[in-house]
């Protein structure tokens, strides 16, 4: 079995994987980082979004071997030294989550958006989140949270 070496949340990790192992399974099963979720099998729900090299990626659509050498951030790596990322704070303060299952993917998607567009309009946020499904919130407070986080992040 191939071995992959990558950086996850700032830490070097290594593991043996099958060629077919998905990045999300490596993250959840091998590393035990269960904050990244699996909600579908057709790469549409976005519950598994992580950052690879700073860009949002559906980790169910990427093989673990493809991530060899990459720098990966999961929801567990968003807070630094106990301080929440502004996106996490905004989701909390704007009630942008209910059951919490889509939340990690939503936040990581949102952070990528704000990195590309510091001051996204409501329309831009909604369009950007087309790859992230939420069944609880009607997206109302998610959109508000992403916009609030953008303002906080310096947009």
């Amino acid at each position: 079995m191939p071995t992959v070496s990558l950086t996850v949340n700032g830490q070097a990790v290594e593991g043996e994987v099958e060629g077919r192992t998905l990045l999300v399974d490596f993250i959840r099963e091998t590393l035990g980082l269960t904050g990244t979720h699996v909600g579908c099998d057709t790469s549409q729900c976005g519950a598994c979004v992580v950052h690879v090299g700073g860009a949002s990626v559906k980790s169910c659509t990427m093989l673990a071997v493809e991530a060899d050498g990459a720098d990966v951030t999961t929801v567990e790596g968003l807070a630094t030294n106990g301080t929440l990322h502004p996106m996490q704070t905004a989701f909390h303060e704007h009630h942008g989550l209910q059951c919490g299952f889509c939340t990690p993917g939503m936040m990581l998607s949102g952070i990528d958006l704000v990195g590309r567009n510091a001051n996204p309009s409501e329309h831009e946020v909604r369009e950007w989140l087309e790859g992230n499904l939420c069944r609880c919130t009607g997206y109302h407070n998610i959109v508000k949270a992403v916009q609030a986080a953008a303002a906080e992040m310096g947009g």
Partner: protein, 787 residues
């Protein structure tokens, strides 16, 4: 707005673990030595099974076992029980076929459980499942209602002639017929309530974990009601006593009804775990969710409304065919009956109502409660009829509704369809919505839209719903096979912090915050000092769980009643400590005080005395730990007025939601932030039903909408910001005055949307459009009307 206690928009206590990735869902749990299960599911809608050959699968790498329905039958495993019995109009019981967790000789829907493959890894189990050779002998399939009720239709169940499970009625048929005979106007409508797939974003999962050392079982499961699962699975399916069976429903990623029911996989994992003497884990793939989670809605209805010359409703007659799917799911039989036809009075004084519901078996996934459960179907029938009546009679839809509203001085109001409403102010709620929607400004907006070539329409829905099915004795008379109370257990610790154990289950509703606010408000401690425990039968005494918007009205009331016991006992202790008479001691804001003096003891001091009872009343038990079982006196009756404005592009049929304005009477509000969040979610699901979502089977019973690629889930760009408001009347019969909010969005908004679309298309002569009003359907309706 207060910063703490009842009415505070307190940020959620549970958020921290979810935003940091520390939530603990079932699939995040792994038990030492666990094996993985993959279910072999039927690809046929209807077939007999001539044989199952697992020999190749058993040789595959990592495979531990392949088990079938025959193995379960050998072990004496029973069928999944129906939680509600419905009677035919002649009083005979519904046809109730067996529902084994895995079939033995016949599959009845695509996705039916045929076998389970258990292996060392998930991938090995899945691979080996493909090697299980099942000899299916296809039978004619009944793919939907129109096939089920056709003359000479094939039978899903030999014991159910005509595929009928029951033919049920509610109301006074003779009086209703008489009302129609004398009516000045009759409005008729044929409508379809489209079938939906719940799609909580967390797929279902189950881990069975048998412990041979004491012959006990633990089941980790994605459930909205772990105690109900323990009862159903323990008593009816596996024959396990409660004290040997623990059910844990940890963080659950959304339910919307679909995680109420006792599913086959729960029993299979629990049973297989004992057979293998090791934990067995199963997590659904999304495609399995589509073909095995209970679906929702699926009615075909013919409805008639009779009015007098002044536009007063004098009679309502409804005839509905309801699809139950292949088996009767836990509450499946109750949804199109007691949760549906009982709502046909709506906000109105209609004196004579009769509803006939015929429920059919089909070769489709079982249908059961999905957010709203019967009530969206009822509101859709009624509010579409009222809209059509306004058009047909040339009356203003606002005035027509107001002329027929039950007035505040008519409460308690006995409807002709069993329910007795306790309170409401339908004019007040409606006026709040009209203002929120700027209803009076609509004409100008329509004219402006016309200058851009757009068809603008406005639609209204004023509705009542019923939450917290109760009391248990009445539910029992109506066919419920369980009680519908709730349990609250309040433990005041020696230093005054508090743990509350509740039988309600939170899977997004924010109970850890809302229930803490109840405790803060009544016992005068900060929310930080209160921990809410739920979802574990080993910790919580009992519970009926969360569904039907019942958690606060029933579960919250149970906590309140337990707190009253705490206060009563604390008063005796405090009186002793302060050497006062018990009747002189009052409790307020966390302190027991001797009335008219400055003598006071904080709750924490009293709690300490209760656990260190050195100076303590004689004959009083130590400890400050109380449990209440609360059985409500009645349903609660939230009501609302939803107003939707749409703009339609006549060239494409695309519907743009320009405004969704809702005023709701959800009873007393504990946390307005959470209440609004619940509204938003319900609205999104209602909008999904009205515009986007539809479960489709082809004529052979194949599920066409079996993934997110062909079942349209509402996405962020499909929805606008919502305007939500309130006009509150407090429930009169529970101690909190609360009613319920979880479902009002999905109940109220679909008819408002369709009414708005029909209004926009009315100039072209369109009278009705079925849900979902996709661009194609809207475009075709427009073309057909203009042809």
């Amino acid at each position: 707005m207060p910063e703490t206690g009842i009415g505070a928009a307190l940020l959620r206590k549970e958020d921290k673990r979810f935003i940091t990735g520390k939530g603990k869902y079932v699939d995040d749990i792994n038990r030492p030595g666990q094996a993985y299960a993959y279910i072999v599911r039927s690809p046929e809608a209807h077939a007999s099974i001539a044989g199952i050959d697992a020999s190749e699968a058993l040789k595959a790498p990592g495979v531990v076992a392949v088990l079938t329905g025959a193995d379960m039958a050998e072990d004496g495993v029973g069928g999944l029980p129906a939680g509600w019995g419905i009677l035919f109009q002649d009083g005979s019981p519904m046809i109730e076929p067996a529902h084994p967790p895995m079939v033995v000789d016949r599959v009845r829907h695509v996705g039916d459980q045929v076998a389970v493959v258990i292996a060392e890894t998930k991938a090995q189990a899945k691979e080996a499942a493909g090697l299980v050779d099942v000899d299916y002998q296809p039978l004619p399939a009944i793919a939907g209602l129109s096939q089920a009720c056709a003359e000479g239709a094939a039978l899903v169940w030999d014991e159910a002639p005509g595929n009928i499970c029951y033919d049920w009625g509610l109301g006074d048929e003779a009086a209703t017929d008489a009302a129609f005979e004398g009516a000045a106007h009759v409005v008729t409508l044929d409508l379809v309530n489209n079938r939906l797939i719940p799609n909580a974003i967390e797929p279902r999962a189950a881990i069975g974990d048998y412990d041979a050392t004491d012959d006990s079982y633990t089941l980790y499961t994605t459930s909205q009601n772990p105690h109900v699962i323990r009862l159903l699975m323990g008593a009816f399916v596996l024959g396990l006593p409660e004290h040997k069976l623990r059910i844990v429903a940890p963080d659950v990623g959304g339910g919307f009804g679909s995680k109420i029911f006792h599913y086959a996989e729960e029993a299979i994992m629990t049973w297989a775990s004992k057979r293998l003497e090791r934990p067995v884990k199963w997590t659904a793939e999304r495609s399995e969710s589509f073909m095995s989670d209970a679906h929702g809605r699926d009615h075909i209805t013919h409805a008639e409304l009779a009015l007098d010359a002044d536009g007063k409703f004098v009679g309502l007659r409804v005839n509905t065919a309801a699809n139950l799917g292949a088996y009767i799911s836990t509450f499946g039989a109750a949804v199109p009956t007691w949760l549906y036809a009982t709502l046909f009075s709506g906000c109105y004084t209609t004196p004579a109502i009769f509803a006939n519901v015929t429920a059919y078996f089909t070769n489709t996934v079982p249908v059961d409660a999905y957010r709203g459960a019967g009530r969206p179907e009822a509101a859709f029938v009624l509010e579409r009829l009222v809209h059509k009546a306004a058009v047909q009679l040339g009356m203003d839809p606002v005035e027509l509704r107001k002329n027929n509203f039950i007035q505040p001085d008519q409460f308690p109001y006995q409807t002709p369809v069993a329910l007795e409403y306790d309170v409401g102010d339908y004019d007040g709620t409606f006026d709040a919505a009209l203002e929120l929607a700027d209803y009076s400004g609509f004409g100008a907006r329509r004219e402006e839209a016309a200058t851009r070539g757009k068809l603008r329409g406005i639609g209204i829905s004023t509705f009542v719903e019923a939450c917290g099915i109760a009391p248990s004795a009445v539910a029992g008379q109506l066919g419920a096979r369980a009680g519908l109370f709730e349990v609250g257990h309040v433990r005041v610790h020696p230093t005054g912090s508090i743990t509350v154990f509740t039988g309600s289950h939170s899977h997004g509703q924010g109970h850890e915050t809302t229930f803490a606010q109840l405790v803060s408000d009544r016992l005068g401690v900060s929310e930080d000092q209160v921990e809410i425990v739920h979802g574990d039968t080993a910790q919580v005494a009992f519970g009926m769980g969360t569904y039907g918007s019942r958690s606060l009205a029933v579960g919250g009331s149970a906590i309140y009643m337990a707190m009253e016991k705490i206060i009563a006992k604390g008063t005796i202790i405090a009186a002793h400590l302060m050497e006062a008479a018990v009747e002189d001691v009052v409790f307020d804001k966390g302190n027991f005080t001797v009335a008219g003096t400055d003598k006071t003891k904080a709750l924490g001091e009293v709690a300490f005395a209760a656990y260190v009872p050195h100076n303590y009343p004689e004959d009083l038990e130590p400890g400050l730990d109380e449990t209440a079982f609360y059985d409500p006196k009645n349903f609660t009756f939230p009501a609302g007025a939803h107003i939707v404005e749409v703009e339609i592009d006549p060239d494409t049929g695309v519907v743009d939601l320009c405004g969704v304005s809702c005023a709701d009477d959800v009873g007393r509000i504990i946390n307005p932030m959470i209440v609004d969040g619940q509204m938003h979610g319900g609205l999104a699901q209602g909008i999904g039903q009205a515009l986007l979502e539809s479960c489709i089977y082809d004529d052979s019973g194949q599920l066409i909408t079996g993934s997110y690629m062909n079942y349209t889930m509402p996405r962020a760009a499909d929805l606008p910001f919502f305007k939500t408001g309130h006009h509150i009347t407090n429930c009169t019969h529970n101690p909190l005055g609360v009613k319920g909010v979880g479902e009002v969005g999905s109940i109220g908004v679909p008819p408002a949307i369709i009414n708005a679309i029909v209004d926009a298309l009315s100039s072209a002569g369109v009278e009705h459009i079925d849900m979902p009003a996709t661009p194609e359907r809207v475009w075709r309706a427009l073309q057909d009307a203009q042809a």
